[in-house]
Amino acid sequence: MNNSLLVVLIASGVAYGTPLLFAALGELLAERSGVLNLGVEGMMLVGAVMGFWTVERVHAGTAVTLVLALAIAAVAGTVMAAIHAFLVITLRANQIVSGLALTIFAGAAGLSSYLGNDLNLADQPASKTFHAFLPSGMQDIPVIGPILFGQNALVYVSWLCVIAVGLYLSRTRPGLNVRAVGESPAAADTMGINVTAYRYAHTLAGGAFAGVAGATVTLAITPQWVDGITGGAGWIAIALVIFAFWRPELCLVGAYFFGALQALAPQLQARNISLGPTTLWTNSLPYVMTILVLVVVSSGTARRRLGAPSALGTAYVREEH
């Protein structure tokens, strides 16, 4: 029963969806403060390569190494986000072009590839990985076992992050301030909120999340380093934020949905199920579905009720308001 296609799809959807979830939570924080960062893919890749590097080079206990790897991946993502933050917040550059520049700079043919090559990381499996750790008795419970208990530690960490981000945005003073900054920076400024500081902090936090998301790919899902290993997950994460109406709990739902779509291709292949040009449509499905969902979400009534932060994508200059 635990090997039936549906259960396996949901269970691996949760696993595959975790990097999407981390990246989407980070992008959500940045966007809530009014900063659109299209560099998620690049930040993820740098986090992925640095996390993998840590695991290959640090010789300590498994748990210590893995936590250190996550920390280094988060720092790497933060450094990447800092470039974007400086350009768009301090220098007021175009957020869209700057984000694209970040993806080109850090992405599959840029810094992440440079680092992966220079640090000799290609063509080797990760020596330590995140894997399911709960007792097998729990993992073998029908249906909910593999889905809820057969996951690696990062999945449970991501659940905590969803709760933390949700509470932060709705129940804490700084969280409410961020939302004010994202909706109306001029009004927030008048209230005495430091718009620049808030935007910097949340853009950097977004980078840290993206770095962890990248490390999730190289340390839990496909434990190795290949140039461009994230394969567009960063872009799907950006779409997820729109799809989730800028709400963390909906990010979780969306991430698992797209995770399951990504798991579909290898699962059908493993089971020798062939449905016409299988590889073509199962590979394309996550991307096509993302587009379809975006269309539904962005048209008409849905957009009006639960729209984007009003100041998203615009620079704030006190003198010009």
Binding site: I104, A239, P277
Partner: protein, 385 residues
């Protein structure tokens, strides 16, 4: 000490040239630091880079081969970005143009049509393929207000899978099915001779060959410049980009403009795809490590942004960045760090973006805080910026 940023009243023209030039210099300096930090010698690495890009025997030919697709994707991005339509799907639109262009070449060339006719058909087919693919995000944006950045980008992956599928996973019209090699490693059918685009050789410096595509790219730049500077269409598109509300009040039809500009952008990228078939690859290249690995569509965005969306500047910069890409390709190996070219491109783009602030603002460094309202007797007050 206090640093303040003020808006400039006038934008000096020389800054429009100085900023990109300084960006490039700055990028090479920063990349030199990266190289030093990772134990490479920047001087010898850069020397190798420039030799391979522009100076060695035959290097200019290779640079033109790398620059031609970048000119197309750069122009495609410039055409759309000018109207603040962020079409970053030039990559996928190029694949689609390559698919339709190759279909036209294989079909008409196989029937023995005259070469000029076959080539013209490939150009048209390539444009159509790119246009169709670009109209998907265009229609979604125009009628459903769906973010075109994400849809155009996600379609790149779909087009890539389609390309791979046609050559590797199906017995499609484009795939070579005869011969021993076909059963070992899948490739595309070779284009018939009449569908191969001619090059024009200049007998200077040991001969430089200009591919037909390079000429078409220059022609496209002229057309694009005329369209945006000299026609009502271009003017309206720019107004729509700068101020949608003003354009709406002036009676510009928003949806039509979005569709037209996306179609134009896609057609240029698709033409670049047909040029890949006809000029360089002489088959439909479906290998994930071939055309798809080049990332011409994404580099085109760098080219367009550096050229500040001016078509002629885009063609010039495509040539320079093409040199960089060519050097990155030929030098690939243990002695030359992979990914360096992407790093340099990224930093060039960052510094060009940061430099933009200098063209719009002046930075003033004051020693002390300006005193508050000391009324000076009988002085002509400076006009406030």
């Amino acid at each position: 000490m206090r640093i303040s940023v003020e808006q400039r009243l006038k934008r000096p023209r020389w800054l429009a040239v100085a900023v990109p030039v300084c960006s490039v210099v700055f990028a090479f300096l920063v990349a030199a630091i990266v190289l030093l930090a990772t134990g490479h010698n920047p001087v010898s690495t850069y020397r190798k880079l420039f030799d391979a890009a522009f100076l060695q025997q035959g290097s200019l030919d290779q640079t033109l081969i790398a620059a031609t697709p970048l000119a197309f994707t750069g122009l495609a991005a410039a055409a759309a970005f000018r109207m603040k339509l962020y079409n970053i799907g030039a990559e996928g639109q190029m694949y689609m143009g390559a698919i339709t262009g190759a279909a036209a070449g294989l079909y008409l060339g196989g029937r023995g049509g005259p070469s000029a006719f076959v080539i013209a058909a490939m150009v048209v087919a390539g444009c159509v393929g790119g246009t169709v693919w670009a109209l998907i995000p265009g229609i979604l944006r125009a009628f459903f207000k769906t973010n075109e950045i994400l849809t155009s980008l996600l379609l790149n992956y779909v087009a890539g899978y389609l390309l791979t599928y046609l050559i590797f996973e199906s017995a499609s019209y484009w795939r070579q099915t005869k011969g021993f090699n076909a059963s070992v490693f899948p490739t595309g059918k070779p284009l018939p001779h009449s569908a191969v685009w001619p090059g024009f050789t200049i007998h200077a410096q040991g001969g430089i060959t200009f591919p037909l595509g390079a000429g078409l790219a220059v022609l496209t730049a002229i057309v694009l410049w005329t369209l945006y500077k000299r026609t009502r269409f271009g003017f309206e598109a720019q107004v729509l980009g700068d101020s949608p509300r003003a354009a709406r009040y002036a009676g510009v039809r928003m949806r039509r403009k979005i569709l037209a500009v996306m179609a134009l952008s896609g057609a240029i990228a698709g033409l670049g795809g047909a040029s890949q078939d006809g000029d360089f690859r002489h088959t439909l290249d479906g290998d994930p490590n071939g055309l798809q690995k080049q990332g011409f569509g994404y580099t085109g965005i760098v080219v367009a942004a550096l050229g500040r969306y001016n078509p002629f500047a885009v063609v010039l910069i495509a040539f320079l960045i093409g040199g960089l890409e060519n050097a990155g390709n030929t030098l690939q190996g243990p002695s030359f760090p992979a990914g360096l070219v992407g790093v340099i491109q990224g930093i060039i783009l960052f510094s060009a973006l940061g430099g933009e602030i200098l063209t719009r603002h002046r930075i003033r460094v004051a020693r002390r805080r300006p005193k508050i309202a000391t009324p000076a007797p009988a002085q002509s007050p400076e006009p406030a910026a």
